[in-house]
Every structure is written in structure tokens, then in C-alpha cells.
């Protein structure tokens, strides 16, 4: 069977397709989250060093993973949009950014909620938290640039270029922060990198990360639909759709 993928790259055809896809991803996210929460709260044993506070890791580490994955995926969509001049790719990049920023913020907040009982301080300049903070700045820069340019075409392409510049810089920033941290002798407890992590713990984190991933897809599709409606406000298909929708 030959599928014409380009057909789905126009907003008019993608809009109803996304509508059909959203419930699938949402349900997958819900099921994975329930399984992940069951493992992280019922099956995973108490950590003998950190007590029950370590269970924060089951939300902190997946949020931190997703914040990085989303940035890379966002940059990939942005690059694709720039290379192929495809509107849908740019819209996907734009739709992913706020969710990525939210996960970054969650990773920071849960990291400091973990740090308070473990380190005795709400904030410690350890390599992981610091790079997460810088990632938040990168997301905010992308969102700020896109929202301050009025012309959507220019906003798409400028944002895409910024995301690509950011993705080239992320490894350098990460390396420099890590280096800075070892020179200044930071914390001794390393969050999430326990040497002998039980298999159940790893499974819990993986399930939660997958749940977040599916959630991200569902929410990004929801947001991309909003962006399509807003951009093509005066297009015939949107008008027909809005008249058909119940008020």
C-alpha cells in the first residue's frame, strides 16, 4: 500500500487526522502512567540511603529526560521545516516548545524538592540542575522569539534557526557545566545515578518516561490543532469546521 505522506502535511488534512490520533496517545499515556505509578509506589523497595524521598526520582528523572528529548525533537522538526519549507513541521516545533518548557520546570522543581531533604538546601549548583536551568532559558528564548515576531512565516523560520543553533550548543554547554562542576567540587550525592539501582526502579522510571512521552505527543497534537485554527482563521475549511462545531 502506498501512502501519500505529503497529503497529510497540509493543515486541512492533518487537522482531522490529529483528532483521531489524540485519544490513542492519551490512553497510552494514562495506562503507562498507572503502571509506572504502581511500580514506583507499590513494588519499588525503600532505598536504604535515601528512605522514601527517593521516590521523587520517578517523576524527576523522566521529566528531565523528556525535557532533553523534546528539545532535540523540536530542533529536528524545525530543521525539517527549514529544509523542506514545510509549514506543518514548523508548527510541530512550535507546538512542542511549551510542553518541553513545562517538563524542564517540573524537573527543576522536583529536583529541588528532592534536594531539600537530601542536601539540606533547596538549590545546589550541581551539574544536572544547572544544565536543566540553562535548558529552560533556551526554551524561553525560543518561545519569546516566536511570539514577538508577527509574521508567522518569519517566526517559524527564525525559531527554527534558533533551535538548530541551540541544539549545536547544548553538548558544549553541558560539557562546560560538567567541567565547571568537577572543578568546584560540587555535591557528593549524585541524583538518579545510584550505582546499583534495582531493576524495578529502572523499570518504574522507564514506564513513567514512556507515559510522559505519549502525553507529550497527545498534547503537542492538541496544540498544533490550535495553531492551525488560529493561523488559518479565514481559510474556508476552518470556517466550515467552526460552523459545523456545536457552540
Amino acid at each position: 500500500m502506498k501512502i501519500n505522506w505529503f497529503k497529510y502535511s497540509s493543515p486541512q488534512t492533518f487537522y482531522p487526522l490529529a483528532e483521531k490520533m489524540i485519544p490513542w496517545f492519551a490512553w497510552l499515556a494514562a495506562i503507562l502512567a498507572v503502571a509506572g505509578l504502581y511500580i514506583s509506589f507499590v513494588m519499588a523497595p525503600t532505598d536504604f540511603q535515601q528512605g522514601e524521598a527517593y521516590r521523587i526520582i520517578f517523576v524527576h528523572v523522566p521529566a528531565a529526560w523528556m525535557s532533553m528529548v523534546i528539545y532535540i525533537v523540536m530542533a529536528a522538526w524545525a530543521g525539517l521545516g527549514l529544509a523542506l519549507n514545510a509549514r506543518l513541521s514548523a508548527m510541530m516545533a512550535q507546538a512542542l516548545a511549551p510542553t518541553g518548557a513545562i517538563f524542564t520546570l517540573l524537573a527543576l522543581v522536583t529536583g529541588s524538592l528532592w534536594g531539600k531533604p537530601m542536601w539540606g538546601a533547596w538549590w545546589v549548583w550541581d551539574a544536572r540542575l544547572t544544565s536543566e536551568l540553562i535548558l529552560l532559558f533556551l526554551y524561553l528564548g525560543f518561545i519569546a522569539l516566536q511570539s514577538s515576531i508577527d509574521d508567522p512565516r518569519r517566526a517559524d523560520r527564525a525559531g527554527a534557526l534558533l533551535a538548530l543553533v541551540g541544539v549545536v550548543n547544548v553538548p558544549i554547554i553541558y560539557f562546560s557545566v560538567k567541567w565547571w562542576n568537577t572543578l568546584h567540587q560540587g555535591s557528593s550525592i549524585n541524583m538518579g545515578a545510584a550505582p546499583k539501582m534495582a531493576a524495578t526502579m529502572l523499570l518504574g522510571m522507564l514506564l513513567m518516561a514512556l507515559a510522559f512521552w505519549m502525553y507529550t505527543v497527545a498534547v503537542a497534537l492538541m496544540r498544533v490543532r490550535c495553531i492551525m485554527l488560529e493561523r488559518e482563521r479565514s481559510a474556508d475549511w476552518v470556517k466550515a469546521l467552526s460552523l459545523g462545531a456545536k457552540s
Binding site: L138, L140, L161, V165, F175, S176, W179
Partner: protein, 222 residues
């Protein structure tokens, strides 16, 4: 091709020379920011010399950033930027000439002024030397990366603050390596590794930043 490059460089330097107040603004900003810290922190020599590398580098970062808005703005309003876009020479090379001019006008004076301020912070002689070297190797990266931000925000409302938000996170490696070099020499260690990394950052951005800036200019002007 070399002619166009030199003409742009000469023209930008001439314009900067005609409006010397712009250069002075950057220098005064650097001077004022780095003089505020002793007033805020207190005049103890031990404290001042321990914060000196970070303070001087952050001040240099901010001083290089406030002048970024002017990098392409004048050419954008008088139309010469569009001439550059359609010129037969590769845009990235022409952009490089503008960035070099920006560094000569805004970066180099800061590098030359920095040891004087380092003296106020009681930095020893060899640390002063490392400070100059680190700024010399690091500030070109600031101009190069800054040019991308300046090109992206060209003609956008509120571009002054926006450029800070875009560019400052990307400056972090240069800050870490630069301030780290001075701190290493203060502690009697070799600053070689830091300086090599700064040079590597400069070389990498020398290759990539003009291309990205050229692409950003095409997006912003088209």
C-alpha cells in the same frame, strides 16, 4: 571578493570612528558594572580577588551584548543590508567583515581596559596576563554568537531585551572557560586547558556563526 570584504570592514570602522560615543558607551558600561561590585560586596581584598574572574567576565559579556543591536540595525534601515543580500559575494563572508568590525570596536577596547580593572581587584600579575589572553581568545566568540541573535531579532519589537534572552545562555561555555582560566592561574594552576577550550570555541563559532547569521539575515529581511 576581497575588495568587498575590505570595503565593508573599512566602512564599519569609519562609521564607528565617526560616532565615537558608541564605543565609549560600551567601555563605560564595562567600567561601571565592574565598579559596582566592590561597592556592593565590600572592599576586602580577599573577597574581591576571589570574585574578580567571574565579575570581570560577566561585565565583559554584558558590555559586548549591549552593542549587538547596532550591528545590523543601521544597514537594515538605510537599505545597504539588502544590497549585501543580493551581492555576488557570499553573504557569510560579508557578515564576517561586519562581525570583525564589531569586535574591533566593542570587544578589543574591553580586552585592553580589563587589566586596569583587574588591578583594582588586586589580581596578581600572572592572573592579569591570563585575563587578557582569555578575553582575547573568548570575546570573538561573543561577537560571533551575538551576531546570530542580532540577525534573528532584526526589526522585531523589544529586540534589545530579546537578544539578551537568546544570546546569554549561549555565552555560558565562554564564561565558564574564561573565568575558569583566570581562577586557575590565581590558584597557581596552569590555565592552558581553559585557554585551549576558549580557542576551540572561537574556531568553531568562526566557521559556523557567519553561516547561521547569513541564514538569519535572509529570514529577517527577505
Amino acid at each position: 571578493m576581497n575588495d568587498a570584504w575590505l570595503i565593508i570592514l573599512k566602512r564599519d570602522l569609519l562609521l564607528a570612528f565617526r560616532r565615537r560615543s558608541d564605543v565609549a558607551t560600551t567601555l563605560f558600561f564595562f567600567l561601571i558594572v565592574s565598579s559596582l561590585f566592590p561597592l556592593g560586596v565590600g572592599p576586602e581584598v580577599a573577597v574581591l580577588s576571589s570574585i574578580a574572574p567571574g565579575v570581570l567576565w560577566v561585565a565583559a559579556l554584558l558590555a559586548g551584548m549591549i552593542s549587538l543591536n547596532r550591528l545590523f540595525a543601521a544597514d537594515f534601515t538605510d537599505g545597504s543590508l539588502e544590497q549585501m543580500l543580493i551581492a555576488p559575494q557570499p553573504l557569510a563572508l560579508l557578515v564576517l567583515a561586519k562581525i570583525l568590525a564589531h569586535w574591533l570596536v566593542c570587544g578589543l577596547p574591553v580586552v585592553l581596559l580589563a587589566p586596569l580593572i583587574g588591578l583594582q581587584y588586586a589580581l596578581p600579575n600572572d592572573a592579569l596576563l591570563v585575563l587578557v589572553w582569555s578575553l582575547l581568545l573568548g570575546t570573538p566568540t561573543l561577537s560571533l554568537i551575538g551576531a546570530i541573535g542580532a540577525a534573528l531579532t532584526l526589526g522585531v519589537r523589544g529586540s534589545g531585551l530579546l537578544v539578551a534572552l537568546l544570546v546569554l545562555p549561549l555565552y555560558i561555555p565562554v564564561l565558564i572557560f574564561g573565568a575558569g582560566a583566570v581562577a586557575a592561574s590565581q590558584h597557581g594552576m596552569s590555565a592552558q586547558a581553559h585557554l585551549s577550550l576558549l580557542a576551540a570555541c572561537s574556531l568553531l563559532s568562526l566557521v559556523l556563526a557567519p553561516l547561521a547569521t547569513a541564514a538569519a539575515l535572509r529570514i529577517s529581511v527577505e
